[in-house]
Every structure is written in structure tokens, then in C-alpha cells.
């Protein structure tokens, strides 16, 4: 039960962080012209190629310095600074929104922030839903992150809990299968409720990428 609460918290914060930051940054790439935009976009895409092992060790040491071990912060805060894949996804979607909309708002004296929040966000619900689902799945199933950053069993996520369950119950397969099913259940429910967005999201990245 405790694991579930922990996992829900981490997942929720990750989703909020990813939605806000990635759509905000994507707005800059899709609708604003600023020097260096294209170079930064290439740099951003380049980071997707980087094996996470390269940054894993320094980040661990960095978060340890900050005293963030055994908190949710290392697992959630990075989401608030955008990640390349989601920014790319949102940018592709924002590009399809006609320029006239934001220009009309600009003539009315709206700020960019207002345009992003009141025009682009409401118009991008399908893309945001896809993004939310991706982040949900990532955060819910993440194993390596919690494994590195959480040592205190009180802070464990479901994935880690399942692992310690395995060490405890080993070959009692009936118990193990029941526990696994409970962990999988929310993702299955998500899938059946939002199937359309799953499939759209996957195909969007695959065909246009």
C-alpha cells in the first residue's frame, strides 16, 4: 500500500512536470523565432542518442551532494526541465496550429505566456494526453531510477517493492503472480481507456520521426 502511494506521487509529479515544461519549451521551438533556435533543437535531439549511463553516475553524485537521496526529488525534478523526446513531440503538434491564431492574439496585445496557456494548451489536448500517458508509463514502470536513488524501504516504489517481494518469496509463483498483476493493473486500465492516444502517440513518433 505504501509503495502504491509513493509510486502514485512520483508518477503524478513527473506527469505534471513533463506536461508543463515540455509544452512550454516546445512553444519556443515551434512558434517563436530566436537566434540559435535550430542549433539548440539539433542539440536537444542529439541528447536522445546519449546512453543514460553516461550521465547516471554524475547525477547520482550530484543529487547525493544535495541530500536528495531517499527523496522523490531526483526522480521528478528533471521532468520539470523538459526532455528532448517530449519537446519534439509537442513541437510537431504545435507546428500544425495555424499562425493566424497567435498573430491575432498578439495584435490584441496578449503576451506569449498568455498565448501558450490560453490558446495552444487548450488546442493541444490530444498531444498532451499522449505525452501524459507516455510519462505515466515511464514513471510507473521505472526501475533503474528508484533503484539508484531510493534505499529506504519506506520510500520504495511498486517496481522496487516487487523486487524485494521476489527476494522474500522467491519461488512462490502464485504469490508473485498476484503481486505482479496488481502492479500491472493500472497500466492496463490506462491502456484500455486511452487506447487511441497510445496508438496515435506511437505512430506519430515512428512515422514522422
Amino acid at each position: 500500500m505504501r509503495y502504491t502511494v509513493n509510486t502514485v506521487w512520483i508518477t503524478l509529479l513527473s506527469v505534471i512536470g513533463a506536461l508543463l515544461s515540455s509544452s512550454f519549451i516546445a512553444y519556443a521551438f515551434a512558434k517563436l523565432k530566436w537566434p540559435g533556435r535550430n542549433i539548440w533543437f539539433v542539440v536537444l535531439l542529439g541528447t536522445m542518442m546519449l546512453p543514460p549511463q553516461v550521465t547516471m553516475i554524475p547525477l547520482f553524485l550530484f543529487f547525493k551532494q544535495l541530500g536528495w537521496i531517499d527523496t522523490y526529488l531526483p526522480l521528478t525534478v528533471p521532468y520539470f526541465f523538459g526532455s528532448a523526446f517530449y519537446i519534439f513531440l509537442m513541437r510537431q503538434f504545435f507546428m500544425t496550429i495555424p499562425k493566424e491564431l497567435s498573430e491575432a492574439a498578439k495584435i490584441d496585445g496578449s503576451t506569449e505566456f498568455y498565448i501558450w496557456w490560453r490558446i495552444f494548451i487548450p488546442l493541444s489536448k490530444p498531444a498532451l494526453a499522449t505525452l501524459a500517458i507516455f510519462t505515466f508509463m515511464m514513471a510507473w514502470n521505472d526501475f533503474l531510477g528508484p533503484l539508484i536513488y531510493l534505499n529506504d524501504p519506506d520510500q520504495f516504489t511498486l517496481a522496487l517493492g516487487l523486487r524485494s517481494f521476489q527476494q522474500q518469496y522467491g519461488t512462490r509463483w502464485n504469490v508473485m503472480m498476484a503481486a505482479s498483476l496488481i502492479v500491472m493493473l493500472p497500466t492496463l486500465v490506462m491502456f484500455f481507456s486511452f487506447q487511441k492516444y497510445f496508438i496515435e502517440g506511437v505512430t506519430l513518433t515512428g512515422v514522422k520521426g
Binding site: 519556443a28 530566436w34 549511463q53 553524485l61 506569449e112 516487487l162 505482479s180 497510445f198 515512428g206
Partner: protein, 302 residues
């Protein structure tokens, strides 16, 4: 006067642009550029977290390449895994997508069913498979025993263990199937109709139309598959612990052990850089090969 106003507008937009991008810029510096540089520095040091990093030059790389048999073993294991699972997943994904592209009643249900496994992932699935592949009580061997066949020790026999994990990876083929399916639906009907008029059979159409038209999608999936193949970690960690006899000790797992079990952060950082160069080399080779076999519409092949 007018010119000045225009200037002002664009400067304003540039400032706004950087403001919007600023969280991303901070993220790139703090969570990417900084750690990358620090990791490079650590790879030339000996660091165990309790004492300050000690500069040892290229020693980590030298030890890795000449004195650490497990480094080579884990690298070969990983290459084996990538070399086997990427082609297998590609073939299975394309064939499945072609199958799911037929207009038969209830096809939507089948698409959902095949896509579903790729959605659930992580520890729960690894445990599920550990049970399925269990040599004594597992689903497969119990079934084989009924038929009077003694199944292999899928995960306990070092000749089978890697291959078992490759097979298990096919479980998630639905993810690439959906992408191929979208690719298939983008193939113009007229091509098939023209081929039918010319008297082409099913196989001929598949080889001469479907495959070439799908190559951009295959290209994308192969690159993604190779990148994620080098990351294989969870299955080994949960299901085999790297064994038996280190036959499933994959590179990412060995790196994790070096860093967080043995506290050899310098050595593990050096391993991460080797991994970076190998994935980079593989990606570049695939990208280079792309111009030979990937067909883009609108380009004239001659």
C-alpha cells in the same frame, strides 16, 4: 521609424524565445552538459565516493581493455543480444503488421491484443517471464513435459539464457508492429492496383512494393532498436542476476554493478564512455548504410 519598429518586434520575439526555452536550457546544462563533462573527468580517475577522485590518466581504459575479461564478456553478450534481437524484432514486426493490415472482421481486436504486451513492461513482466521460463514449474516446460519432451533450462543453462532473453524481447514486438502498420497504411493503393494489372502475385507485391515503401519506417525502428538493445538491464537484473556463468551479464548491468555495488565510479564512468562510442559507431554505420537501402518517396532512384 518603421524599420526600427520591426527591429524591436524581432528583438522582443528573440527575448521571449529564450525565456520560453530557458527551462530547457537549464535542464540541458544541469542534467546533461554538466554531468557529461564530469563523467568524462571521472573516467580518468579512481573514485570510490569516500575519498576525493584521484587522477590516474588512462589506467581505467587500459585495465578495461587488457585485464578485465568480464568487460569483454559483457560487451560480447550485449552485441549478441543486439545482433539477434534487432533483426528478429524487425522481421516479426513487419510480418505481424502485414497480417494486421488485412481487412478481416474483428481485426481491431487482434491489433489491440498484439499491441497490448508492449504497453506493460518493467519488473512485473520480467517476473511473469521468469515463471514462464522456469525449468521445473514454468509454463513452457510443463507443457513440453506433457508431450514427453524435456525442455531446456531456459534461464539456468548458459547456452540458452541469452537466447531466452532475446525470445522474451519479442513479447514487446507490438510496439514496432503498430509503427509498421501506420507505415503500411501510408502506402498508396494505386501501386498495388498497378501491380495487379501487370500480373504481379502476392509475394512479388510484398517484395517489390511493401518492403521498399516500408524501408524508412524499418530504418527508424532499427536505429531505435539498436539504441535500446544496448541498454538491456532489467531482465538480467531481475531474472538471472547476470548468470549462469555470466552468460547474461550485459554491459549496462556490469556497469551498474561496478558503480553501485563495487563503488568504482571512475571505472564505471570509463565504461559509460566506451558504451557511448560503441552506440555512436553503430548508429553512424546504420545511418550511412541508409542511403543504400532506404527508399524515400519523391526521390528518383536513378
Amino acid at each position: 521609424m518603421r524599420h526600427k519598429r520591426v527591429m524591436k518586434m524581432s528583438t522582443r520575439e528573440a527575448i521571449n524565445g529564450y525565456c520560453c526555452f530557458s527551462p530547457g536550457l537549464i535542464g540541458l546544462i544541469v542534467f546533461m552538459a554538466g554531468p557529461i563533462l564530469y563523467s568524462l573527468y571521472l573516467s580518468f580517475t579512481n573514485y570510490n565516493i569516500y575519498q576525493a577522485p584521484r587522477w590516474i590518466g588512462l589506467a581505467n581504459y587500459r585495465i578495461m581493455l587488457t585485464e578485465d575479461p568480464l568487460f569483454w564478456k559483457s560487451m560480447l553478450n550485449t552485441l549478441y543480444y543486439v545482433a539477434l534481437s534487432v533483426p528478429l524484432n524487425t522481421v516479426a514486426g513487419v510480418l505481424l503488421a502485414v497480417l494486421m493490415n488485412q481487412s478481416v472482421r474483428g481485426i481491431r481486436l487482434f491489433r489491440t491484443l498484439y499491441f497490448l504486451p508492449s504497453v506493460v513492461s518493467g519488473v512485473a513482466v520480467a517476473l511473469l517471464w521468469q515463471w514462464v521460463l522456469d525449468p521445473n514449474f514454468g509454463l513452457i516446460n510443463t507443457f513440453l513435459a506433457r508431450l514427453g519432451i524435456e525442455g531446456p533450462g531456459w534461464l539456468t543453462d548458459e547456452h540458452w539464457s541469452k537466447f531466452s532473453l532475446v525470445l522474451m524481447n519479442l513479447w514487446a514486438v507490438g510496439g514496432s508492429m503498430i509503427i509498421y502498420l501506420a507505415g503500411l497504411q501510408g502506402v498508396p493503393r494505386s501501386l498495388y492496383e498497378a501491380a495487379t494489372v501487370d500480373g504481379a502475385g502476392m509475394l512479388r507485391k510484398f517484395v517489390s512494393i511493401t518492403i521498399p515503401m516500408l524501408t524508412p519506417t524499418i530504418f527508424f525502428n532499427v536505429i531505435m532498436g539498436v539504441l535500446s538493445g544496448f541498454q538491456v538491464f532489467l531482465q538480467a537484473y531481475i531474472m538471472t542476476g547476470g548468470g549462469p556463468n555470466n552468460s547474461t551479464m550485459f554491459f549496462a548491468y556490469y556497469l551498474y554493478n561496478k558503480a553501485f555495488k563495487d563503488m568504482q565510479f571512475g571505472y564505471a564512468s570509463a565504461m559509460a564512455w566506451v558504451l557511448l562510442f560503441i552506440t555512436l559507431a553503430c548508429t553512424l554505420i546504420i545511418l550511412r548504410s541508409g542511403s543504400r537501402w532506404v527508399y524515400y518517396e519523391g526521390e528518383n532512384p536513378n
